[in-house]
């Protein structure tokens, strides 16, 4: 199915892409920076160096040749702080409302508690070890970062030039933290209404170490295995702009496994379990869409042209997804539903995520259509055939959408929208050649395969471990009563 769609999409784009394919010299070929011999202060540098430095700052270029130490620059830093706040807003309250509206009213607080608890706990883990394990470097490993930034040691307002010349490292660290927060929170849509809060927190604690930190380093770390754009020695030169593999595939596939380990909700398939408020779900969806600009355009880690392209493609894919899904409902069921609009928009956002900084507007529109069709089939047809209880369709939308996105990015990639695709690292590790030869989808498939394997194995281990130690599910009676009262001693609505 995916290959077929990818092939169709590929044909449609062939003309547009091949006509513009040519090797382009990258002005910002930013591989891991080699420290220059004693940087000079800006004011002591020759005027020519100062001019070149400012030029690089304005365009998110590499200032190494000027021998002036990079510093956080107003525009780039401002955008990254805004983006970080936007991505946090995706979890609190975006995801909390999106998921919260879809559960029954007796479980709304359990969703909010899950989102809030993960936000707080992951923030502390990230500060202590997480950031360093992903973006540190002293392991010099393709699989994990290092220990030098434990407890944010050295994470100051100066840039970490391995990742951004013009953004404060502490801002970069918080930006990446917001991704580490929303990813595990996505998982628990599949397990909604039937997993103990304590089990959720214990699972997330382990999952960050076994799945998220290694995977995020492999995809985004400067020495990462699958970091095709920035790691000159990447064994699998794949591309993932904002987290199709790291965020959506990892959470989606983990969600499938975890909901299978948990089993169905009590009464699933017998008693009705309709969403208690599609109004909340709508508000959550809208917050997710707005927040996703920070997620996708912010993943340029600069306010530059690549960010602008990601901003544009994100809008188009989401709009087309939100058009396609309810249109299918209208044709096959007679009515376009609000949940259909919401689902199509989120699916569009998911599928464009890995692609947003690498495809053009036509690519985004095609992705929007695919996002409206494939997850729709997963959530309405395939789920009913196999009868697993993916309560809020985390697997159907994030797992499947993320996988489709990872693959289709390899087909629709347009090197003219992002000079880094032809940069020094991409040329050295073969990414540029794979794009020119139209074989990138092979590396994308390998990256997707590794992601699925890590998510499935990690979740199997942790799921059964937590089940053994503290148990995953509340009692049947507690499940009937609702987790808001039994886990948190409160009710969402007192009227």
């Amino acid at each position: 199915m995916f290959r077929l769609l990818a092939a169709i999409a590929s044909l449609a784009l062939l003309g547009a892409v091949t006509s513009t394919l040519h090797a382009e010299d990258s002005p910002a070929a930013a591989v891991a920076a080699t420290p220059a011999p004693t940087p000079v202060a800006f004011t002591n540098a020759p005027v020519a160096a100062q001019t070149a430095y400012l030029q690089a700052a304005l365009t998110n270029g590499d200032p190494t040749a000027t021998n002036i130490a990079p510093t956080a620059i107003a525009g780039h830093n401002a955008w990254m702080m805004v983006s970080s706040a936007f991505v946090l807003m995706m979890t609190l309250p975006g995801l909390a409302l999106f998921y919260g509206g879809l559960v029954r009213s007796k479980n709304i607080l359990s969703i909010i508690a899950m989102c809030f608890g993960i936000t707080a706990m992951v923030s502390v883990i990230w500060w202590a070890v997480g950031y360093s394990l992903v973006f540190g470097s002293n392991f010099a490993s393709p699989f994990l970062g290092g220990t030098e930034n434990f407890f944010f040691k050295g994470v100051t307002s100066d840039p970490n030039t391995s990742y951004a010349y013009w953004v404060s490292q502490n801002v970069f660290a918080i930006f990446q933290l917001t991704f580490a927060i929303i990813t595990p929170a996505l998982i628990f849509g599949a397990t909604a209404e039937r997993m103990k809060f304590s089990a959720i927190m214990a699972f997330v604690f382990g999952w960050m170490f076994i799945v998220y930190f290694p995977l995020a380093h492999m995809v985004w770390g400067s020495t990462g295995l699958m970091n095709g754009v920035w790691n000159a020695t990447a064994k699998i030169p794949a591309i993932d702009f904002a987290g199709g593999t790291v965020v959506h595939m990892s959470s989606g596939w983990s969600a499938l496994i975890l909901c299978l380990i948990l089993g169905k909700r009590v009464g699933h398939g017998k008693e009705p379990m309709p969403p208690h408020s599609l109004v909340l779900t709508f508000i959550g969806t809208a917050l997710l869409w707005v927040g996703w600009y920070g997620f996708n355009a912010g993943s340029a880690v600069a306010a530059d042209g690549v960010a602008a392209n990601a901003f544009t493609t994100t809008t188009l894919a989401t709009a087309v997804g939100a058009l396609t899904w309810p249109l299918i409902e209208w044709v096959f069921r007679g009515k376009p539903s609000i949940l259909g609009f919401c689902s199509g928009a989120v699916a569009g956002l998911v599928v464009i995520t890995p692609a947003c900084g690498f495809v053009n507007s036509w690519g985004a529109v095609i992705i929007g259509v695919v996002a409206g069709v494939v997850p729709y089939i997963m959530c309405t047809v395939v789920k009913n055939i196999f009868k697993y209880d993916d309560a809020l369709d985390t697997f159907g939308i994030h797992g499947v959408g993320g996988t489709v996105g990872a693959l289709i990015t390899g087909v629709l990639v347009d090197p003219t929208v992002n000079a880094n695709l032809g940069g020094a690292a991409a040329t050295a590790n073969g990414l540029a050649k794979a794009i020119a030869d139209h074989t990138l989808v092979v590396a994308q498939a390998k990256a997707a395969g590794i992601t699925i394997a890590m998510a499935v194995v990690g979740t199997l281990i942790l799921g059964f471990l937590v089940k053994l130690v503290i148990g995953l599910r509340p009692s049947v009676e507690a499940e009937h009563q609702g987790l808001d009262i039994t886990d948190h001693g409160e009710e969402g609505y007192n009227h």
Binding site: P272, K335, T380
Partner: protein, 112 residues
């Protein structure tokens, strides 16, 4: 004295209330209820899940009137609540033994 219990479509409440008011009926109790008769419910679909909703929202009006006012009140309700479509509701009439106005201790027809 008789008690009238009328189950009507919610959007007809204002019309029924005004019609009863014109007849000089000065009080009523209204409850939001759910139920079904021959109209049955409808189907709701959320992604892949279909649910049949059997119980539809209706309004129950309760009024108590003197025997002489009964006929006028019932016909006013029936006339104003009618749309001619299935699901218009029903009117029940029950005997009432007594009524007491709490503020004044008045009883019987004077109290309603």
């Amino acid at each position: 004295m008789k008690k009238i219990e009328a189950i009507i479509k919610p959007f007809k409440l204002e019309e029924v209330k005004d019609a009863l008011h014109e007849l000089g009926i000065e009080g009523m109790t209204v409850t939001e209820v759910k139920g079904f008769g021959r109209q049955k419910g409808h189907t709701e679909i959320y992604r892949g899940s279909e649910y049949t909703v059997d119980f539809l929202p209706k309004i129950k009006i309760e009024i108590v009137v003197a025997d002489g006012a009964l006929e006028g009140a019932v016909s006013a309700i029936v006339k104003t609540a009618k749309t001619g479509k299935i699901g218009d509701g029903k009117v029940f009439v029950l005997p009432v033994e007594n009524a007491i106005r709490i503020r004044t201790d008045e009883a019987g027809d004077k109290a309603v």
